[in-house]
């Protein structure tokens, strides 16, 4: 089986990012996360974190709500605009219900009130990292499928689209003005290049790409 596309890079280790303007909070979270062997990066302000954000591959963000200059909720909006899809766990000592709802509506992963139990924070971080890993795995799969699609000739791509729409070889042959035998050959090559082992798998691959297109 030919496989000329480059294999995906190994996943970067997941990092827990923390943004809080309170030094005592930063220190205690740092200690807590290191004690369970999380890789940690700590920032004093949203602006400092924004410089780092575009290069982030995977992880989660523990974010204070109330900070001078730029609030945690503002940072959440900026990250959205920048297309950084990192799951955010808000922490706050002065939160209220409307604020929590607003953060969640904007896509926050969770919203914790200080003081919280260490274990609660660790649990949420674990869940957020799992969610982020799943998201990354999904986008790697989509990248792979897209790479394979690039290997198809224009004719093979036409055949693929018609196969996925559920047309029989005979119908495809008539539509594209080809012999049925030629369609069969194209079809076999499509299966090989796409590394699909069945028609159902091929359809699933195209659905994955489709879903992604509507999301972005």
């Amino acid at each position: 089986m030919t496989n000329t596309h480059t294999p995906p890079a190994p996943p970067a280790p997941a990092t827990v990012f923390v943004v809080d303007d309170d030094e005592a909070v930063r220190d205690s979270i740092r200690l807590l996360l290191r004690s369970v062997d999380h890789q940690v990066e700590i920032f004093e302000s949203p602006l400092e974190f924004l410089e780092r954000a575009p290069a982030i591959q995977s992880g989660c963000l523990v974010l204070d709500v109330r900070m001078p200059v730029m609030s945690g909720l503002d940072l959440q909006q900026r990250l959205k605009q920048l297309g950084v899809p990192i799951p955010i766990i808000f922490i706050t000592g002065h939160g209220d219900v409307p604020m929590a709802v607003q953060a969640m509506q904007a896509g926050a992963f969770d919203f914790l009130q200080k003081p919280f139990r260490d274990q609660d924070l660790l649990d949420r971080i674990g869940e957020a990292l799992t969610a982020d890993r799943n998201r990354c795995a999904g986008s790697v799969r989509q990248d792979n499928i897209r790479e394979r699609l690039k290997l198809l000739s224009p004719r093979e791509r036409e055949v693929l689209d018609k196969v996925v729409q559920g047309h029989a070889n005979k119908v495809i042959a008539a539509d594209l003005n080809l012999s049925q035998r030629t369609v069969e050959i194209h079809r076999a090559r499509v299966m090989e290049k796409m590394e699909a082992h069945s028609l159902a798998e091929l359809v699933r691959m195209m659905l994955v790409i489709d879903t992604d297109a509507t999301h972005s």
Binding site: G95, D96, V97, A100, V101, M104, Q105, D110, F111, Q113
Partner: protein, 130 residues
């Protein structure tokens, strides 16, 4: 329209606008009056079983669910079953953990009681625009 308001929804009628689920009859009545004054069609139910029956028979365009009726758990179940109707959770207990749980269960919004008419209307209007 009377048939709808009284809780009967013959097949073929358009879906009702708002389904209210709250144990408190007074709350149901006042919310119903509020929504009807704005021209919305409304059903009310007082327990989870009636709610589930109603949802099976006539899915509404928007749900307003009291947390005290098990609204958060119910919503999570409905979402797991693939029901996408926009839902607003209300609660007299309030509190950030409950609000967050409601949002994670798939609520569009979470409102603390006592409910303010303007806020409730605005939230439902947003839900109906979906």
């Amino acid at each position: 329209m009377d048939a709808l308001v009284n809780g009967l929804c013959p097949a073929g009628y358009p879906p009702i606008d708002v389904l209210l689920a709250d144990r408190d009859v007074a709350v149901c009545d006042s919310m119903r009056a509020l929504f009807e004054s704005m021209g919305y069609t409304v059903h009310t139910v007082q327990d989870a079983a009636a709610l589930e029956t109603e949802l099976r028979q006539a899915p509404p365009r928007c749900l307003v669910l009291a947390a005290e009726l098990g609204g958060v758990e119910l919503l999570a179940q409905l979402r797991a079953q693939g029901l996408s109707v926009p839902a607003i959770i209300t609660s007299a207990q309030g509190g950030i953990p409950l609000a967050v749980a409601a949002m994670r269960a798939g609520a569009l919004n979470f409102l603390e009681k006592p409910l303010l008419d303007a806020r409730l209307l605005q939230t439902v209007r947003t839900a109906l625009r979906r």
